[in-house]
């Protein structure tokens, strides 16, 4: 990183010395990319791995695009919308980046969609944030999302747990913000339509440390409990859940059974063995594009500096960075005319991603594959998700008629209502 920085600095110095115009026409000089990730707070581990996703893609491209050197400026957020806004302001208004990759967390995404409208000169490519509103309501022309959203990540799970697992009643517990609302939205629309019933929904603040009383309040008389927690909250919950002797059937949200939790220290993760879940990837997929990506990730970092395999977050940021690289190549590094050519390319791109082909809809929201998975113990004793089934071409309205979908309302604490048809 330091070397790269020095290199680009000296290149700039040399060009100034020769009197050549620096950054004159938008396709010369260093390309500045802002990386935005949660490097503080509950989602620290997730943020660290997302940066690995960017590094993996850039190192594979030799840290240059269409002849231009790449400078990555990383800023940290803590999962809150205002921290994301502050970080994005610094990147755009102080560092003058051309493209932002990020943010990681749901409500940060909504904040940056609004901010992107005030900065038409910068292209925002979402990192991994998955709130539905980000692209569904009032989308922004320069905000692109190459990952499916939290509701799309839930597709397939409701039918699976109702039909195959036989769970007829479920209570949910989740962090109290937009992404988990979206996850529960996706789960509820499918699960309730299949015939299941959601009896209670518990919401805890992001960054909750003491789950003792919430765990006691979880009902005994349901078939399973849906866990919509991530990062430090997930580890804390599982730890205290085991201390309290909890033994209910569990259903995992997408970031609950992610590598960031399954590889955590301590015995917390043991509760997750056999838990069904769903998301945009499966750890043990045998798709050659996936296995190639896994070895690329493993080769880019020392074993001590990474997870055993890429997580959802390194994958999402890798995909966003790959999309950017492909389109920069396509336009020959030319970002002139308000980045028009580059954005045109992004809008029409079909990304051959490690987790299947991804293309964007008219709101610049990804349409892609979704995986129903189950956590199983691997031969080496670690835990990983294994594919149960794959659903292709999942769009943002989850296959529901767009008008009926809009009538359900936006994801919230009590939305959607659990009913048999939507």
């Amino acid at each position: 990183m330091k070397k790269l920085h020095l290199g680009s600095l000296s290149a700039v110095a040399l060009m100034s010395a020769l009197g050549a115009p620096v950054l004159a026409d938008g396709h010369a000089g260093t390309l500045k990319i802002g990386a935005l990730a949660t490097l503080e707070g509950t989602y620290t581990q997730l943020g660290e791995d997302s940066i690995r996703g960017i590094t993996t893609a850039l190192e594979a491209a030799g840290n240059e695009i269409a002849g231009r050197d790449v400078e990555v400026i990383t800023v940290s957020t803590d999962g809150s919308p205002d921290s994301a806004l502050r970080a994005a302001r610094k990147l755009v208004e102080q560092d003058g980046v051309d493209i932002i990759i990020g943010p990681l967390s749901g409500s940060e995404g909504i904040a940056l969609r609004d901010y992107s409208k005030t900065q038409p000169g910068t292209t925002f490519i979402n990192g991994s944030s998955g709130a539905m509103e980000t692209t569904f309501v009032d989308p922004s022309d320069n905000f692109f999302r190459f990952n499916t959203d939290g509701a799309q990540w839930s597709v397939g799970l409701g039918n699976y747990v109702y039909n195959e697992k036989g769970y007829e009643t479920v209570a949910t517990i989740g962090e109290d913000y937009s992404f988990i609302y979206t996850q529960v939205f996706g789960f509820a629309t499918e699960y309730c339509a299949a015939g299941g019933e959601i009896t209670e929904r518990f919401w805890v603040p992001l960054g909750t440390k003491d789950f003792g009383s919430i765990i006691a309040a979880l009902p005994d008389d349901v078939d399973a409990i849906y866990l919509g927690l991530g990062g430090g909250d997930a580890v804390n919950f599982l730890n205290q859940y085991q201390q309290a002797g909890g033994d209910a059937n569990l259903i995992g949200g997408s970031i609950m059974v992610d590598g960031t939790v399954l590889n955590s220290e301590g015995s917390a993760k043991a509760a997750l063995t056999g838990v069904p879940s769903s998301g945009m990837m499966a750890d043990t997929s045998d798709d050659p594009r996936w296995t190639d990506f896994v070895s690329l990730y493993q080769d880019t970092f020392d074993e001590a500096d990474r997870f055993p395999a890429p997580t959802l977050f390194s994958l999402a940021y890798y995909n966003s960075t790959s999309a950017m690289l492909q389109c920069m190549e396509a336009v020959g590094g030319d970002l002139s005319d308000g980045q028009a050519g580059f954005r045109e390319c992004l809008s029409n791109l079909t990304l051959e991603a490690p987790n299947g082909d991804i293309k964007l809809d008219e709101n610049r929201q990804a349409i892609g594959s979704n995986f129903v998975v189950e956590v199983r113990e691997q031969d080496d004793g670690s835990l990983a998700t294994e594919v149960v089934s794959v659903i292709e071409n999942v769009n943002q309205t989850l296959g529901i008629d767009p008008a009926a979908f809009a009538a359900i309302g936006l994801p919230g604490r009590e939305t959607p209502v659990c009913q048999s048809s939507y």
């Binding site: 503080e40 003491d210 205290q240 201390q243 301590g266």
Partner: protein
């Protein structure tokens, strides 16, 4: 006690009634009507016990804070930093040696030494200047928080308790009755019970040390009149250093406790600084029993709030603080000056 009953017969009656109701809620088998109205007894009992154990943790942090304030009038706003440092030291000790118990003395000693350094290098140089002390300790807490972020990273750490402490135990409190007439007893995490007992032991030991020993006598004399104590020949600076080291060490131990039943991460320092500020404001600055009462109230408020009205749980803590400040500004057990 009898004085209080004679002076405030009405309040005594109300308090006695509340205690009776509480005891009934804890020991009786709840009638179905009550269960329909406020939820199952299991939820109530768990919130009650969790509030008490959380109060135990807050007491460990806040007692050091209040002790230091009571004796030296030092407002040490780096107290949360000492808590977090204790947590990190405890985690790495437990991780390297594999011994959970060893983490406590190590954290106590390391953080205690930091406390001595703070007292010798910072507070002694600005004795009696509240504003400067406050600003300098805020500065120190920000710098050290960033240094710890640099040194330990932004991850959350969880100190695993030994296997004999993990898992639940069955208590003798009846939580409900099955249809068959069989009694269901409440299960409660072992580790929380141990932590609560430890907090009580520390509290009682502190009270005894302050009230029954020669050192305690010197400390109490120092709280009342520092100048007179040093005029009698007591080496007041040594006492100050000792108290500061002990108060800081307690924060370190609390860090290990907090890392065991919650987790430690950047940001926890300000959370616990705020918690101990609220606790000592509610309980009364400088009073150990006040810290215990304040910690209990705040712990209970947080847990009952998170179960019965989750949206406003955060407000409840501060509501208590506002009410106390409005009606008894010196704190519930603070001395009127």
């Amino acid at each position: 006690m009898r004085d209080f009953a004679n002076r405030y017969p009405v309040w005594t009656g109300v308090l006695a009634l509340l205690v009776v109701i509480l005891l009934w809620l804890i020991f009786a088998i709840w009638p179905p009507g009550l269960v329909d109205a406020v939820g199952s007894k299991k939820i109530f009992l768990s919130a009650l016990f969790n509030g008490i154990t959380l109060g135990g943790l807050y007491f460990l942090v806040a007692s050091g804070f209040t002790l230091i304030f009571g004796l030296m009038r030092n407002v040490n706003l780096a107290h949360g930093t000492l808590y977090l440092l204790g947590g990190y030291v405890g985690f790495h000790t437990a991780d390297k040696t594999g011994s959970w118990l060893l983490a406590f003395p190590v954290a106590f000693v390391v953080v205690g030494i930091c406390g001595v350094l703070l007292q010798v290098l910072v507070f002694r140089r600005m004795e009696g200047q509240d504003l400067r002390q406050t600003l300098v300790t805020i500065g120190i807490s920000i710098v050290v928080a960033d240094l710890m972020l640099w040194g330990f990273g932004g991850d959350f750490f969880n100190i695993s308790p030994p296997s004999w402490l993990s898992g639940p135990v069955e208590t003798f409190f009846v939580s409900s009755v099955r249809r068959s007439g069989e009694l269901v007893y409440l299960k409660y995490p072992m580790v929380r019970i141990v932590i609560f007992v430890a907090a009580v032991v520390v509290g009682v030991a502190m009270w005894l040390a302050l009230n029954k020993t020669r050192i305690g006598m010197m400390i109490r004399a120092g709280v009342d009149d520092r100048d007179m104590l040093s005029a009698t020949g007591a080496r007041i600076q040594i006492v100050f250093i000792g108290v500061f080291a002990f108060g800081a060490g307690l924060a370190g131990i609390a860090g290990v406790v907090g890392g065991t039943f919650q987790s430690i991460a950047p940001g926890e320092d300000t959370r616990f600084l705020l918690a101990s500020l609220v606790v000592v404001i509610v309980g009364g600055m400088g009073s150990i029993p006040g810290a215990a009462l304040g910690a209990l109230l705040i712990g209970l408020a947080e847990q009952f709030g998170s179960v019965y009205f989750p949206t406003y749980a955060v407000v409840l803590t501060f509501l208590i603080m506002v009410v106390v400040l409005a009606f008894r500004p010196e704190g519930l057990l603070g001395q009127q000056k």
